[in-house]
Symmetry: C2
């Protein structure tokens, strides 16, 4: 497997486009389209929130109930089309119908995504005219993918893309994706908006299996603020243009693909965590030698979700009591006497801060220098077994409060 | 039942004192003592955090295992004596022993409390000399109780006290208490530090029953930051000086006492929430007409715990989508179509913002004026049954980040 520069147009047969449609803000790209002429097997994971946005309900029906082969994705930013009642559902269907018309496909072959403020109705004249312009602008260029990844951003400070290339039974396959998300990030069986394309030939069932599998260790292991959005959606589309024999069961080919998908979803998930609203750094928590994997996951997520740990990291303060406290209230039973806690950052010596139920002397100066890095790694060694898990988050900053005290203006 | 101005010395036979012992900070009262010459039935609830501070372990043993009648409480602020290993346990015992010596009681009749930074050892010379001075300064005055409530503060901006007077079979009984807590507040079967005294005559078992009962609807329904502390402790002491016949079973007398205890614990809990670190306002969420009480509690707590809801309230922004979202990811099943959401504040007209699965038009200007009040009430009417619950929290502010980015300096 080789990491390549790319996004949703890296795989053969996929085109993308972005435009400034004026859905809510006048001066930025705010709609994106992804299209494959060949029909695609598709898989998706969605928010666990009871309140599901209209496009989430639409996509869930397509992916889970009808098992339609899909051809296109249409996304707008600025307005989430959540908490919008029956009018919101009609607007979502109208968007899919228009997309189907301009691309010559059925409306049930169109995945719809929306992100932005909850509770406002879509500006439909802008959306419908946007769909027409997007269809005309479709391109398989690298720049088209990049524009699409910019167009789906809300409070993100930079676009998120990742892509890889790998061989399956002698055929070169590509897999690339984009994602957005900065606030209201605490995915639960889903994520914020993420779209991944591949020219692999694979059955819908195996595609869903691979996606559901990797999401548990990637998108579901990040948090910005503990708030699970109403719009979380992650879609993978496979159009088969690589020409490999269809993957329809587990085996060596499936494993190669799963590893590639894991890489792309993990990279996108890490980018989301590191670009959390107001964040100045990416925080990685590794729990190692735990009794079982589930416990390791709960512990790692409790650390990166703690407001006190997040604020302490913003202050470059090695106040490890916050980490200990967050592990302690996670709900997982463990022996504090056998726990070790370490801080790491690139180019720094590892600093141990906790051992034998109490603090270990260390240099506050060196610890502050370490925590000032753009990525800080907290390792908790449980000395209980062999399971491990990693979670990604960010620090809690003044800018997070600024952004969310006045999100709508 | 009559609300009176008072605290831990309101009930007959209780004395208190506070001094500046120099445990960590040189210039403030940082140790407090409460004492009853008559032995007291005692009850307590403690943190659910796996990581329990040394004084929590000490108090749990006294309250739960030995069922000792207690005489005294000794508390220090500045250092939490948590994450301090076996040395921390020895220091805690030493503190109780010294307190016993100066008061002429057994060390197992002394409740110990500590609050402050995790992971540092207590400054024992300061603690031990502080205990001596406190014993000399004990007084049953109103001011002594007030000083004690100031001495147990950490980042609190004001002391918290509440007291009531009521009649039990012709005898006048008083019940008063103090509490502290501002950050790391998300009590789970306990709270931050709280000490309540009463001259009621009641058995230890019935006292524990009443306390465990009221805590579920008071201290366990507040949150500042979702972080459950290592030191949460709430203690009630009853010395029997009111002269009533001992309450040893449920009945009319028990109900009167339970109501009084509910009032005092709710007032103290509300004060903790409203004085959350950096808070500018108290946020009350009432969930009414829910299917059952447990669901109502989970929903109310999810709303006041959401970082996004908290930041929105700081910005005086009626962005109700945040509330809807927090209810949706709470884990409770409900029908969004039958939900109504309202905002209230003293002296303002009620503003409805959500009905029939979508937003209701309202004046943003009036909503901003309402949310600018010191106490904002969010009401969610589920239209599912008759159960209700209330939770209390606060807004998320720049000052919260300031306080916790550099807590230790």
């Amino acid at each position: 497997m080789k990491v390549i520069d790319g996004g949703v147009t890296s795989a053969k047969g996929f085109k993308a486009a972005a435009i400034a449609a004026g859905v809510k803000y006048p001066d930025r790209e705010d709609m994106a389209m992804v299209y494959s002429e060949k029909p695609c097997a598709a898989a998706g994971t969605f928010t666990g929130n009871i309140i599901k946005a209209a496009p989430v309900l639409w996509d869930m029906r397509i992916i889970r109930e009808k098992k339609e082969k899909v051809h296109a994705v249409i996304v707008n930013t600025g307005i989430a089309n959540a908490g919008t009642g029956s009018e919101g559902l009609r607007n979502c269907e109208e968007t899919a119908k228009k997309t189907g018309e301009v691309l010559g496909i059925d409306k049930d072959q169109v995945i719809v995504g929306s992100t932005g403020v909850i509770g406002q109705q879509l500006n439909m004249p802008a959306i419908l005219s946007g769909v027409e312009k997007l269809a005309e602008a479709l391109s398989d260029s690298r720049e088209a993918a990049h524009s699409a990844s910019r167009a789906i951003m809300t409070t993100d400070t930079h676009p998120k893309e990742a892509a890889v290339e790998f061989e399956i039974s002698g055929r070169t396959v590509r897999l690339g994706g984009m994602a957005k998300g900065s606030g209201m990030i605490h995915p639960n069986m889903g994520t914020m908006l993420g779209y991944i394309t591949t020219d692999l030939c694979i059955s819908g069932d195996m595609l869903q299996k691979a996606l559901s599998d990797v999401v548990c260790d990637t998108f579901n292991m990040i948090s910005v603020d503990g708030d699970t959005s109403t719009n979380d959606t992650l879609i993978v589309m496979a159009n088969g243009e690589a020409g490999n024999d269809e993957i329809s069961s587990e085996g060596a080919d499936y494993d190669i693909f799963r590893e590639a998908l894991f890489h792309v979803t993990r990279e996108l998930a890490r980018m989301l965590a590191g670009d959390g609203e107001g964040a100045t750094k990416l925080v990685t928590c590794k729990v190692i030698n735990a009794a079982d994997k589930n416990k390791a996951k709960i512990l790692a997520k409790s650390v990166i979700t703690s407001s006190l740990t997040k604020a302490m990291l913003y202050g470059n303060d090695a106040n490890w009591g916050r980490i200990l406290c967050a592990m302690g209230y996670s709900g997982v039973q463990f022996d504090p006497e056998s726990l070790d806690i370490y801080f790491d950052a690139e180019g720094c010596e590892t600093i141990q801060v906790y051992h034998d139920g109490a603090g270990v002397p260390y240099s506050e100066e060196e610890a502050t220098a370490l925590i000032s890095h753009e990525e800080v790694i907290i390792t908790a060694d449980m000395h209980e077994g062999t399971a491990e898990a990693t979670a990604w988050g960010c620090d809690l900053t003044h800018e997070y409060v600024n952004i969310n005290a006045d999100y709508r203006s």
